[in-house]
């Protein structure tokens, strides 16, 4: 799509894009290229000089059991957040879509967790599950569960998944509801006249028509779980206990800042970049976005 009528000026357009391009180059492209350069260098013990080591940093990374563990943790975490988040929001959206008159009201009551910072979501749920005063922790202990998510890895994973999913439900709900409301009512009525019940209609008409939205949300949720949940992990578990909740983004930060391993952290950055690029390509190539309001 191009404009037919444009302005003519030799220098003005460059001046207009200059601020955006300057920030992009200084704070995006330059650091990203530095990460790539650093990932093939290793610093000596004193940090004075560095030399070229080829792919050694990457090889070391994939031989490091903690890094492989971090991959598994991230896979588990993002799968749980995506699957639980999407199933719950789809159920809610289908329910709200049925009783359309009250849908707007419920929408207002369900969208606000989107505005809560991941770190604050972590703090809120951390308190709910806190061994001692936490009310759900108390109930679990009454039921005979030995509850302490600061010590038990599986329990820690459970709490971070709850906090991360809670925050994302509003977003999923809004898009599912929009998707449902854009499905032509005549199709559903036709199916009903042919004798299809609500369940049959959902599986054969609603879900296939909703699949672009569903596919789009899967990508968005995976990206969210990979890259935007640092605050949840940092405020709740610090990647622990025993690295049970150490997702890739947490590890890249930890190795770079706390462990001061520049080469290793940069190699991790490069791998993460490859993951983002892959996800973005999927998002733009394969997804027909047909979300209408």
């Amino acid at each position: 799509m191009e404009k037919r009528v444009v302005f003519h000026n030799k220098y003005l357009p460059y001046l207009l894009v200059a601020p955006q391009i300057a920030i992009t180059v200084i704070f995006f492209f330059w650091p990203a290229s530095q990460a790539i350069v650093q990932s093939v260098l290793r610093e000596d013990a004193f940090g004075v000089s560095s030399h070229f080591v080829g792919l050694d940093n990457f090889i070391a990374l994939f031989e490091d059991e903690y890094y492989l563990n971090s991959f598994k943790v991230t896979a588990l975490f993002s799968t749980l957040v995506t699957v639980i988040g999407l199933s719950l929001s789809l159920l809610l959206a289908v329910t709200a879509d049925r009783i359309i008159r009250a849908a707007t009201l419920y929408k207002t009551f369900l969208i606000w967790p989107y505005a809560v910072a991941p770190a604050v979501a972590g703090a809120l749920w951390g308190f709910v599950f806190l061994p001692g005063p936490g009310i759900v922790a108390y109930l679990l202990q009454q039921m005979g569960v030995d509850w302490n998510f600061h010590l038990n890895g599986a329990q820690a994973m459970f709490v971070v998944v709850v906090a991360a999913t809670w925050k994302q439900i509003s977003y999923n709900f809004l898009f599912f509801l929009a998707g449902l409301q854009s499905i032509p009512k005549s199709l559903i009525e036709a199916a009903a006249i042919d004798g299809a019940g609500p369940v049959r209609r959902f599986w054969t008409i609603v879900l296939p028509l909703l699949s672009p939205t569903l596919f789009f949300l899967i990508v968005v949720n995976v990206v969210y779980a990979f890259f935007e949940t640092f605050g949840v992990i940092h405020s709740l578990t610090r990647g622990g206990p025993a690295k049970a909740t150490e997702i890739l983004v947490y590890k890249v930060w930890y190795d770079g800042f706390e462990a001061q391993d520049l080469g290793g952290s940069s190699a991790q950055s490069v791998i993460l970049m490859a993951i983002v690029i892959g996800l973005t390509v999927i998002q733009f190539r394969y997804i027909e976005r047909k979300v209408h309001y």
């Binding site: 391009i21 049925r98 009783i99 009250a102 606000w112 967790p113 991941p118 001692g132 940069s266 983002v276």
Partner: protein, 285 residues
Amino acid sequence: MIERRPIADFVGHLILIVTVLIVAFPIYLAVIAASHDLAGISQVPMPLLPGSEFFTNMANALLEGPKIVGVGRGTSALLLMSNSLIMAISIAVGKIIISLLSAFAIVYFRFPLRTFFFWMIFITLMLPVEVRIIPTFKVVADLGLLDTYTGLVLPLIASATATFLFRQFFMTVPDELVEAARIDGAGPMRFFWDVLVPLSRTSIAAMFVIQFIYGWNQYLWPLLIAAAPEYQTIVLAIGRLMRAPDAYEEWPLIMAMAVLALLPPVVVVVLMQRWFVKGLVETEK
């Protein structure tokens, strides 16, 4: 709906009401915790009804802040919140201004590097802070911007999504307006300010809501850039307090601060719901 099923309707309302309550539950609990003193909150199980200390705790959080060693002793929530506010508003306004300008250049001018710049802006989508943590930190450090508002804001105001949103909108503005402006002798900047910006009001409002929340909720970036207590934000402070060794002595205060940290963005979303939904949907187009 097609069938009239009163029971299904009832079950539907029930599911939604229960979910709304579960979703709101952690906030309720935080408010309750913030309304008791330490002795009150330490009962097992903790009380589920509000106590009498809410305003004491809030005033304490706002004016003095928790006294936990190593987490910026005496940084009051008021200071932390004003830092968050400065950061959120500067990021939102900054993003809107530079994106309006670059979208204007890309849509309304033809120049040799136009496509190249467009792709450069597009690629930033694939480079979130999280994947270039250390080198970005180093750039900011080399520029002497650690512990400054500029360091907190400037690197975050490049925006592919805002540029695309405004580009999308500008494409729908009728060409006749440009022709009319030209006949009336208005230059490009005059057209930009007097025609384009006023027409973009709704898009700007939608963008503002989304970016305000984005800026207020930043966590990793201030964690890297703001070491000095004077520049920390309220969200960052919550994350640090959570795992402080003697946090248990301050739970009522920490929960009071958590409530303060989530209040501004939640209020913005609820009050500006229409623009929020518009912004959310349009940035994903």
